[in-house]
Every structure is written in C-alpha cells, then in structure tokens.
C-alpha cells in the first residue's frame, strides 16, 4: 500500500538510509511530523468517529427506531445463508418461517431448531419443535450485499456514469484550461464566466436543469425544435435511454470548471523556457502539447481526476433531483441513503456505504499504481 501511494510522493526512490541520515535530515523529519500532526488531529476529530462507526454498524442490525436492541451480526449484512433476515422477530426471539410444502408457520431460532408457531403457549411463549420434515433448501437462501441485484445494478450505473462523465470532463477541462491560459482580451471575464456552473448550489442547478430539460415547457426542447434537430419533444429525464446521458451532460456542465481551474493552475506553474526551446526547434504546437505540456501537468491532472472520480462515484444530489428514486439510474449513494434514511435500516445502509468505500479505494489504488508507471517513465 505504501508503495502505491508514494507514487504521488516525490523522490521516493531515496538513496539515503536511516543510519547515514544527517542531523539536518533528522531535523527535517521531525518538523515534518510537527507540520502534519495538526492536520491529522483535525481529521481524526472530525472523521474518525463517524467513519469507524459506519464500518462498525455494517456488522450490526441497527435500525433507526427508538428502543431497538442493536445486535452484532457479523458479516450477515454482506453475505448470509439462512432464513430471510427480514423475518427476524424480537417477540418470537427467532426468524419467522412459512414452510410452503406443509403450510406450517414456524420459528427458526439460533439453536438451529424449527419451532411450531401453532404450539405457542399464549402465556409463556414457549413452543415445541416442529414435528414434520423440513428441507432447509426450501427455507434458506443466500442474502446480503454481495448477492443483492439492486446493489450491483447501482454499482454498474455509478461506474458507467463516473467513467463517462470524468472522461468527458478531462477532455473538455483541458480545452477550457488551454483557452483560459491563452492571452486574449477580456480573459478575466471569461474566467469568471466559466466558473459559474461550479458556483451555483447543486440543489438549485439540478432543479434548474430538470426544468430546462422538461419535455413540455423546457427550453432545451424548444431550442432543439427550432433548430430542427429533433422532430418532437424529447422526455430527457423520463426516457430510460436518455436519463443517464442527461445526468452525465448536466454533471459535465457542473464540474468541468473544477477540472479546468486545477489544470489552469498547473499550466501556470510550467516553466517558460521549455516552450521557448520548443519554439526555437520549430515543434508544432499540437506536438508541443502532447510532448511537453501534458507530461508536465500530468501530476496535477492525476490528482484532479482522483477528486473528480471520488465525487462522481459518490454522486447523489444530481441524480436524485433529476430522476428521483428510479432504479434505472440509481447510484450507490442513493441506494445507501434509501436504506439509511428512508428504510431506517442503518445496518444494511452502513454495509452499502462500506461497500462503496471498498470499491472506491480499490479504484484509487489501481489508478495510483497505473499512474506510478507513467511517473517513472517521465522522470
């Protein structure tokens, strides 16, 4: 893990080793820790408890209900073979099981025995074990996040969305940054104009786009119709095949400024002589861009992409406002929120959040590993 991440840390191929470290180096390392500690304390204070409790809750059956007795259930939220977890009933102290073959109402308890609900003593609640034969294959099933088709669907939706929208943002962001970097009249105003989409609160801009994309009185349909690009009004956010592209288009609009601004900052830090030399050598500007500019801004670009990807993989507001609870466009975060808040199922919702975390970390690690190869070539 250390090696992967140090891809972005420079000069990690250090030749110095501890015994030979000079006094100066030791001093520097000490001051490094002094500099880092405030940040770490701050993060631990704010994020430590919430993150750890989320992971912890994913191993429990916590519900958002007063007086619910939360129990540790191990990996049951992730993968579990047994009676339907939803059928756990505190009053019965076990799982309610309806056995279809013999039309019997049973209770399955932790001791592995099926009890006959019909023999329940109304006063003590005691029950006799069920007399008949039970084929557990009819009663038990695989459950949990790993076999949840809705979860995998939301994973697929989110990945499609993230790859396409971040990909587009890189390309458009580069173009916009290069333009902003050029010397032209009125560039201050243009810089401000380009940043507007990022500046409007998402809860507002998402709603605004949903209005603009409306099939009956939306301005986008109006424009496309008047230009003759479409024959009849399109239901952008309602059509199963247009909904995801529409969400992507709005996300690109909204977050390209972020990418463009970071790339612009990287461009501003580039040393000028390289270009002067290139000019002298008569290298074509396009070639210049791919041979000189792109490699030099790559570290900044990579970091910008990481943060855009982290945001895209956690997309919530935009999809929620544009297409609501539709399963066709459901993202991982929406699924998490639905379980955590709407269904009050904190245990399962936390498992979804943790699953999301694991997927994102896997992507980041792979990305950093791949990125490192390029780093080495460059240096």
């Amino acid at each position: 893990m250390t090696a992967d991440a140090s891809a972005i840390a420079p000069e990690n191929l250090g030749t110095e080793t501890a015994p030979r470290a000079s006094k100066l180096t030791r001093q520097r390392v000490r001051s490094a820790w002094i500099f880092i500690t405030p940040m770490l304390i701050m993060l631990a204070l704010v994020a430590g408890y919430p993150l750890i409790s989320t992971i912890y809750y994913s191993f429990t059956d916590r519900l958002l209900i007063a007086d619910h007795n939360t129990q540790f259930i191990g990996f049951n939220n992730y993968l579990y073979y047994g009676p339907n977890l939803n059928n756990y009933d505190e009053e019965l102290d076990g799982y309610f099981v309806y056995y279809e073959d013999t039309d019997a109402a049973l209770v399955y308890r932790d001791d592995g025995v099926f009890y006959d609900l019909d023999t329940e003593d109304p006063d003590t609640g005691a029950m006799d074990p069920y007399a008949g034969e039970i084929d557990t294959a009819d009663v038990f099933e695989w459950q949990g996040l790993l076999v949840d088709s809705l979860w995998w669907r939301s994973v697929w939706n989110t990945l499609t969305f993230s790859v396409v929208s971040v990909g587009l943002e890189i390309v458009i962001g580069l173009v916009v940054a290069l333009i902003l970097n050029a010397n032209m009249p009125g560039r201050a105003v243009i810089r401000a104009a380009v940043l507007i989409p990022w500046a409007i609160p998402t809860i507002v801009s998402a709603q605004m786009w949903s209005w603009m994309l409306n099939d009956q009185y939306g301005v986008i349909n109006e424009i496309l119709l008047s230009w003759g690009w479409i024959e009849s009004r399109l239901a952008f956010t309602a059509d199963r095949f247009l909904a995801l592209p529409s969400v992507i288009a709005v996300d690109v609009w909204k977050t390209t400024p972020f990418m463009a601004l970071l790339i612009l900052a990287a461009l501003q830090l580039l040393p000028g002589e390289v270009y002067e030399a290139a000019k002298v050598d008569g290298i074509h500007p396009v070639k210049q861009f791919f041979r000189i500019t792109l490699p030099l801004i790559r570290p900044a670009l990579m970091v910008a992409v990481i943060f855009r990807a982290l945001d895209a993989l956690r997309i919530f507001d935009l999809i929620y406002v544009l297409t609501s609870g539709s399963r066709d466009t459901m993202s991982m975060s929406i699924y998490a929120r639905q379980n955590l808040i709407d269904f009050q199922n904190v245990g399962y919702g936390s498992a979804i959040s943790t699953g999301l975390f694991l997927i994102i970390s896997a992507f980041t690690l792979i990305y950093l590993m791949l990125g490192r190869v390029n780093f080495d070539q460059e240096r």
Binding site: M1, T2, D4, A5, A7, I8, A9, N12, E16, R28, S31, A32, F35, M39, M42, L45, V46, Y49, P50, L51, T54, I179, A193, I196, P197, A199, I200, P201, T202, V204, S205, M208, M212, Y217, T256, P257, F258, L261, L262, L264, A265, Q268, L269, P271, E276, P299, A300, I306, F307, L310, R314, D317, A336, L340, V346, S350, S353, F357, I360, S361
Partner: protein
C-alpha cells in the same frame, strides 16, 4: 492559402470555440436570471425574455426570513473553513511533498480515505460528535465538519504542486539557515500563489454550496441557517408548490458575489510564476 489567411482562420476558429464555451457555461445562469424575473404562469413558458419582468421574487427572498443574515453565515463559514484548511494543508503539504520520511504514502492514503464515504453515511456519526462538542445550531459545527471534504482535497493538491517546485530554491533557503516554517512562508507561499488561490476558491465554493450537513446541524434555527438551507426552505402557497421564481432569485443573489470573488481572485490564479523566473 497564405500564412496570414491561415492564421486568421485559426483565430476565428479559436474565438468561435471560446464563444461556444461561454454560452455553454453561462446560458443556464442566464436562464436562472430570466426565470427569477417571471412570476405565476409565465414560469411554465420557455420565453427567452420575461414577458412582464417582475422584481417581486427578489423582494420576497428577504421578506419572510433573515436571508441577509444567512448570506453572512455562509460567508463566515466558508471563509473560516478555507483559512483553516489552507493553513493546515500548506504545512502538511510541505511535510508530505518536500521531506522524505517513511509512512508518507500511507498518510496520504489515510487523508484521502476520508473522502471515500458517502456523505449520508458519516452524517449520523458526525451529528453525535457535534452534540458531544455542544455545537448543534452553531456555525462552528459546519466549519469543523466541512474540513472533511476540503482538507483531503487541499492537502493533495498542494502536495502535488509543492513537490513540482524546483529543489534549488529550498536548498538555497536551507543554506541561508532558514527554518522550515520560514522556508514555507518566504519561499514556497509566494510561488504557490496560483495553486493556493485555485484550491482556496474551489474549497470556498464547495463549503458555500454544502447542504446536507448544514441542514442537519444548523437547520432548526432561521438565524443560523446557511444559504442552501435557506433556499431549500422556500415554499409556495402549499407543500407541493415549488416557489420557482423565488428560488431562482435567491440563487442569482448568492451566485453574483461568487462571480465577483472570482473576478478579484483570477489575478492571483494567474500571477504566480512568471515564465522563466524559475529553473525547471
């Protein structure tokens, strides 16, 4: 084709692209202004100019709630958040970007991992922390919690930029006997101008627009609400009616200061390194 003609053509193509991009980014904002000047049934029309421009929406924004105070709250929260995260991030970025020590990679990953959970998942844990700190219904709760998303971002960006800077500068400072803090403040900070202005601006806007934490931590008091919460509180004559004109007017009111901010800061975004001042 002569060289001049080709140049002219390229120039025209360039400006067409610029115009296209500006329209693409600005048109929705124009539409917000347009909608904010419409009222009643006009809102459901796609007219490019408001048929009968009305300022009522702008007036109503300030009528029923302390919207000016909400703006001030947002300025305070976002401003302090940015100052704190930039300060913590610059020092951390110097350590992570310029000093070799073991565990650097792990630290960077740990910092990043904070940004890997969906916001909704950390919400209830954070709410408990804020209650424990006694900060519910206080703006400080937002400043602290916004660090969750601004700090990983500022630390990573500044670390990246910091290590791109030439080694010779730092060596010169060390030879002159400068302490690490002096090295940061005298040598690196001036050079990092564009990076600082950019990350600061992006973090400011992120904090300015945050909704979920603000709703949960300070949402129960009109006087501590921030802008996005105040906007989400707008309502029409009934629960179902969306007060579209008012929402748009409020959005325009809060977006304009940000545009002004960008106009001011854009000089800093570009004025850091002048070409040729530093060896590569």
């Amino acid at each position: 084709m002569s060289r001049n003609a080709r140049r002219l053509l390229l120039r025209i193509a360039f400006y067409v692209l610029v115009i296209f991009i500006v329209i693409y980014t600005v048109f929705p904002f124009y539409w917000a202004i347009n909608s904010s000047l419409k009222a009643g049934t006009d809102l459901f029309s796609a007219a490019f100019l408001p048929p009968s421009p009305a300022w009522t929406n702008y007036v109503s924004v300030f009528e029923d709630q302390p919207f000016a105070l909400n703006i001030l709250n947002s300025v305070y929260v976002s401003g302090v958040t940015v100052i704190i995260s930039l300060f913590l991030a610059v020092t951390a970025a110097y350590a992570l970007g310029r000093i070799k020590f073991s565990g650097r990679g792990v630290l960077l990953l740990v910092v990043l991992s904070v940004s890997m959970f969906p916001q909704i998942a950390v919400l209830s844990g954070l709410y408990e922390v804020m209650r424990w700190l006694g900060l519910i219904q206080r703006l400080e709760s937002l400043i602290i919690s916004y660090v969750i998303f601004t700090l990983p971002f500022t630390v990573w960006i500044l670390t990246t930029f910091m290590r791109e800077l030439p080694k010779e500068l730092e060596e010169a400072a060390i030879v002159d006997g400068a302490s690490p803090w002096q090295t940061i403040s005298r040598v690196f900070l001036p050079l990092l101008g564009p990076a600082l202005a950019t990350t600061g601006l992006l973090a400011f806007i992120a904090a300015w627009n945050e909704f979920l934490f603000a709703l949960t931590f300070v949402g129960n008091n009109n006087e501590t609400q921030t802008i996005p919460v105040a906007i989400a509180n707008f309502s029409g004559a009934s629960e179902f009616e969306l007060p579209w004109g008012g929402i748009m007017a409020a959005s325009v009111i809060v977006t304009v200061p940000l545009i002004v901010l960008v106009l001011i800061f854009q000089r800093m975004i570009v004025s850091g390194l002048t070409a040729g001042a530093v060896k590569g």
